[in-house]
């Protein structure tokens, strides 16, 4: 009981501290912008730990954060192998192939108005479908190893990327295109010097959406069959063994990988589209 009271106290303290910072004079500083969510996260973790200990919650229902951390530390080699199998081999190769193919197809689609009017509604339609459902089929075609996971990722990221890139390639004003014409620029020159750079904010929007889709696709595809490693494999087998600390450790890996991947793409975006209003520093 003392633990539960202590947890309530910690919650009040953490929230109070955040309220003071957020409503105080320092709220606009970058230290506060980073500090407040960190304090909130730490508060939640401490309360989680205290409640699990205080209420005697069994480890097969909810393991404590310290248990997850020790499982993480004890299984670094396994986690790394799973990460390499699922993320580097499956998700990342699929991401590169899928986004690259979508980009090239988008350029062709954009060139021919007929294709754009035909393929874009179909692409929009497919982008909203539960494409993870193709996983069992692709696993059957490409086998249990990472190739089938990459294939699922390719199918998943292709259409969101295609739709975004086509929208981006059209995002130039008549004035800009006319200027290129007065320069006597050819189609290829207009494409390379005006339209692809102008499309970049849209392209990166697609790339960012695709980062999380890629991880989802790779992990879910492993639920349908995989070699004896991989994040999805480890999650489904550890759930079967009621080793939930391992499941959580794997989820921590997925969370870190997902946000780092997203962060990396966002960083490249900042670097490529520095001219765009949304990237300018005030």
């Amino acid at each position: 009981m003392i633990y539960v009271l202590f947890a309530a106290l910690i919650w009040a303290m953490g929230w109070g501290l955040n309220a003071v910072i957020a409503n105080g004079r320092a709220a606009k500083t970058s230290a506060a912008q980073i500090g407040v969510p960190l304090i909130f996260g730490a508060t939640v973790l401490i309360i989680w730990e205290l409640l699990v200990t205080g209420l005697n919650i069994s480890a097969v229902i909810l393991p404590a954060p310290t248990a997850i951390a020790s499982a993480f530390g004890a299984n670094l080699a396994i986690l790394w192998a799973d990460f390499f199998q699922t993320f580097v081999k499956g998700a990342f190769s699929g991401y590169v192939i899928g986004c690259g193919a979508a980009f090239l197809v988008a350029i062709i689609v954009d060139r021919y108005d007929f294709l754009r009017r035909g393929l874009l509604p179909v692409g929009n339609f497919v982008a909203a479908l539960p494409i993870v459902g193709t996983a069992p089929i692709l696993v059957m075609w490409f086998g249990f190893d990472w190739q089938s996971k990459a294939a699922v990722v390719v199918v998943m990221v292709f259409f969101p990327m295609l739709v975004n890139t086509v929208a981006g390639l059209r995002d130039t004003s008549t004035m800009q295109r006319d200027l290129m014409r007065t320069y006597g620029a050819s189609y290829a020159q207009t494409l390379l010097k005006l339209r692809i750079p102008a499309a970049m904010p849209f392209v990166f929007n697609g790339l960012k959406i695709a980062t999380s889709l890629a991880l989802i696709g790779a992990i879910v595809a492993e639920f349908f069959g995989s070699p004896v490693l991989g994040m999805g494999f480890r999650i489904s087998t550890s759930v079967g063994q009621l080793a939930l600390d391992m499941v959580w450790a794997e989820i921590v890996v997925a969370a870190i990988a997902g946000s780092l991947f997203y962060g990396l793409v966002a960083k490249i975006e900042q670097w490529v589209t520095f001219w765009h209003p949304s990237q300018r520093k005030h």
Binding site: L115, L129, P130, I137, S212
Partner: protein, 315 residues
């Protein structure tokens, strides 16, 4: 006509490609089936054929290739086979099946309609919970600076995390509390639709510009009046956009939630099909799920159009 023409062409082209692709994809199965039926096939046993490439097999056995579109358990079933399977597992099963209406007097529990309903109910319940909580949290975030600074960064970060990975664990943990059936899947659905709605709704509630907020301030409007008369109406387009993302995510959540426990639903149907090599069953379930997703998104789009029209927004 200018709109339908290109779309129709693209769809037809995809169909044609599909039929062509069936030939190399199914060549092994086609030749085995033809051999069993007594036709002459060069390399005359399956093991020898396994070592020959698909395309040389096609060139050596041009007469038997017509069977490519009617093989059972094909690697790539032809579209008409999938349509036939869809028809069989909905109408035929419901009416004439062993547990259909003619033989048992009630609707079948083996049809795609039954499985689709299992998935749909979990999706809709989960979506309602997730979207409702998402809107509430967004309202909290907009009105409390503490909440905004503490929770919002996590809500954004969580969108980059593959939350589906949690699905098997949620199912098992809830099962150990004796909760099973619809609720665990709905929890996953809710979880997946929650964060897109929060992020979209916060954006929407913040979309009134300073001028509009200042105007309400000069009217001496309180927080409540500002919320009901300005923030909420201007958030509607954002809300519907995120609801469309949310319901698609919900459906994925429900399907993935059906993988660990095989108690009906489209996800169970897909996994069952992949265990037993019933490719047509997987494809039929996939198309059924796709149709459901399209209907759900279209339904929200329809409500959106109606709402915006009632609000006087020019579409």
């Amino acid at each position: 006509m200018t709109k339908v023409g290109p779309i129709l062409t693209v769809v037809l082209a995809i169909m044609a490609l599909w039929y062509v692709a069936c030939i190399p994809m199914n060549v092994q199965e086609t030749l085995t089936a033809a051999e069993r039926a007594g036709a002459v096939v060069t390399p005359d046993n399956a093991r020898a054929r396994a070592e020959v490439g698909r395309f040389s097999l096609m060139l050596q056995n041009t007469e038997t290739l017509a069977g490519s579109w009617s093989v059972e358990r094909a690697r790539l079933p032809a579209p008409h086979q999938i349509v036939a399977e869809l028809w069989d597992s909905t109408w035929t099963e419901e009416v004439y099946g062993r547990r259909g209406i003619v033989n048992s007097g009630s609707l079948s529990n083996k049809s795609l309609i039954y499985h689709g309903w299992v998935t749909l109910s979990a999706t809709v319940v989960g979506f309602a919970i997730g979207a409702g909580l998402g809107v509430l949290l967004a309202v909290g975030i907009v009105h409390s600076k503490t909440m905004d600074m503490s929770v919002m960064p996590w809500a954004i970060v969580s969108q980059t995390i593959p939350i589906v990975a949690l699905a098997p664990m949620i199912i098992v943990v809830l099962y150990s509390f004796g909760i099973q059936g619809l609720i665990p899947k709905a929890v996953i659905s809710a979880y997946l639709s929650f964060f897109p709605v929060v992020v979209g709704m916060v954006k929407g509630l913040r979309s009134p510009d300073a001028m509009q907020l200042d105007l309400l301030h000069t009217y001496n409007a309180g927080q409540g009046a500002t919320f009901w008369k300005l923030r909420l109406p201007s958030s509607v387009p954002y809300l519907f956009t995120s609801l469309k993302v949310g319901i698609a995510a919900s459906l994925v959540g429900a399907i993935v939630g059906e993988l660990p426990v095989q108690r009906g639903g489209l996800g169970a149907r897909m996994l069952g099909g992949s265990y037993y090599g019933q490719t047509e069953q997987i494809w039929a379930a996939l198309f059924f799920a796709a149709g459901m997703a399209a209907l759900l998104v279209a339904l929200i789009g329809w409500v959106e159009a109606r709402t915006l029209k009632r609000m006087g927004v020019q579409a």
